[in-house]
């Protein structure tokens, strides 16, 4: 363990994460005013996904950690997306 490099994030980086999350939260509220039909859900999910990616990458240090963790996290998201995709075989074609 002692050979592993520790990464300490700066306040500046944390502030950027905070600002990004606040902006995207505002965006997700704003898009509810747009009438896009089923696309509303897609846009909301994309914004939420981006927020999750920001938290994982910078706040939870995936960017600076062993690449194995990034690979496994990505795999989890791929499975999640595939589950959603398969679910929409039902909802999109009813």
């Amino acid at each position: 363990m002692s050979e592993e490099k520790l990464h300490i994030s700066s306040y500046r980086s944390h502030l950027f994460v905070l600002a990004g999350l606040l902006l995207l939260t505002a965006a997700s509220v704003a898009v509810t005013n747009l009438e896009m039909g089923p696309l509303n859900t897609l846009v909301a999910m994309l914004i939420a996904g981006t927020k999750a990616a920001i938290v994982l990458t910078w706040f939870m240090h995936l960017k600076f950690d062993n690449k194995l963790y990034a690979i496994f996290t990505t795999l989890v998201f791929v499975i999640f997306l595939l589950v959603l995709y398969v679910t929409f075989f039902d909802y999109s074609y009813r």
Binding site: V76, L82, D90
Partner: protein
Amino acid sequence: MSETTTSKHVSFLQYKGKYKGILGWILSTDHKRVGLLYLYTMLVFFSIAAILGLLMKIQLIAPGYTIMGPQTYNSMFTVHGIIMIFVIVVPGLPAVFGNFFLPLMIGAKDVAFPRLNLASWWLYVIGILVVLSSQFVGGWPDTGWTFYAPYSFRTPANVLPALFGAFIMGFSSILTGINFVVTIHRMRAPGMTWFKMPLFPWTLYATAWIQILATPVIGITLLLTVMERVLGVGVFDPTLGGDPILYQHLFWIYSHPAVYIMILPGMGAISEILPVFSRKRIYGYKAIVLSSLAIAFVGYFVWGHHMFTSGMSGRALYAFSFLTFLVAIPSAIKVFNWVATMHKGSLNLQTPFYWATSFIFVFMIGGLTGLVLGSLATNVHVHDTHFVVAHFHFIVFGGTGYAFMAALHYWFPKMFGRMYDASWANIGWATFFAGFLTLYLPMFALGLQGMPRRYYDYLPEFHTGNIISSLGAILMIAGALIIITNLVRSSRHGKKVTDKNPWGGKTLEWQTDTPPTLENWEEIPTITDSPYEYK
């Protein structure tokens, strides 16, 4: 307290640490004791659920009211299902044999997080108690173990404790999964590369990922059902704009992968037993490893085959049917590998081998009848009939249950340092096997004839099949009693085993003392060979 009982080099059964008596067990973080705690808990609750099952079969021995009315029958199959699924078969092999043997098989002294491991058992017990508390606060639930919406939030029966209990047990499952993934990644003995790891840990690894990724979905779903029932939020309730089919999607997104949580470690145990009793290297080691991972992965995407008659879109039906057929391929690969392992082997006909080969037999019947259900055209006819009940008992009980018994008879001498009576074990197996087939085979015919599941009554034309099936249940319970009595008695009074390796196994657990010492190894072994080197 003598020196020998406090030394870390004495048997884990004799070791006396900070606490004495029962506290020395229920507060122990030793992975072997935690494994046995799960075993004892499961034995108690399996007995309860099996009695409920037997009572249901006695009710069905004749049409009309025999020993119970419809409401009692509904509660019986609900509690039978909840206990059998959430308390026995989902945690089953990983919790008992995974906890006990994973560190031994990879050359570790314990799991990565021993305290978390004990906490998992406590959560499991708390979950069970919460489920059973419904008996004392409003009566048992009557929804079936699937808690389908909208009935689950409209029934006057008390469903909330069952939902909460299952939710708590889900946490136990997730924590065990995390523990195993970290243990396998970080604590393998020097020289044990991924492809030198035995197959049982491989299947535990695949299972652990399903536990981590799929279990939260059922947790959220059960909580949403609680909110629906208490607050009327309208996620699933069609009268409030909700979608009851969404409940089924969310429920099966977990509960179908859960079938692989149940069966994969069973397949791992069978893959350990067959080479030992065939005195032959396992055939197609990498094929078994990769098919385990493939089952875990593809198994995520087949849940819709439980919903073919629920009103999904036509396109979804085709997609799920195709994916269901796809997952049969890696399962079949394993069966071919097991048969090829036995081919031209020097077969040693002992009790674990009987359980392992009968596992293959019943699993094949379960698997092939699964294809009948995976096919859209035939599914429509047999959906929600006794055919389905027979199929899943062949897979869940015949698969996981037989693998569990095979593993228990295989690893018993290592776990308890004593040997069971082989004659009684074989008589128990034969009685159980005969009872099992007599109980469940007629249910395929009853289902094809149109007898629905979950009914306490039936038309007279179904009487003969039900009589045979009920007699089979009695025979099977007799077999289970012989097996349990033999094992319980032998764990205390059986012939002592001091040989480290009574079966001649090649995997690491057979190189430790019998029973293992508290920290398993005086010195962590270095691995040079693959785990099944029979020459």
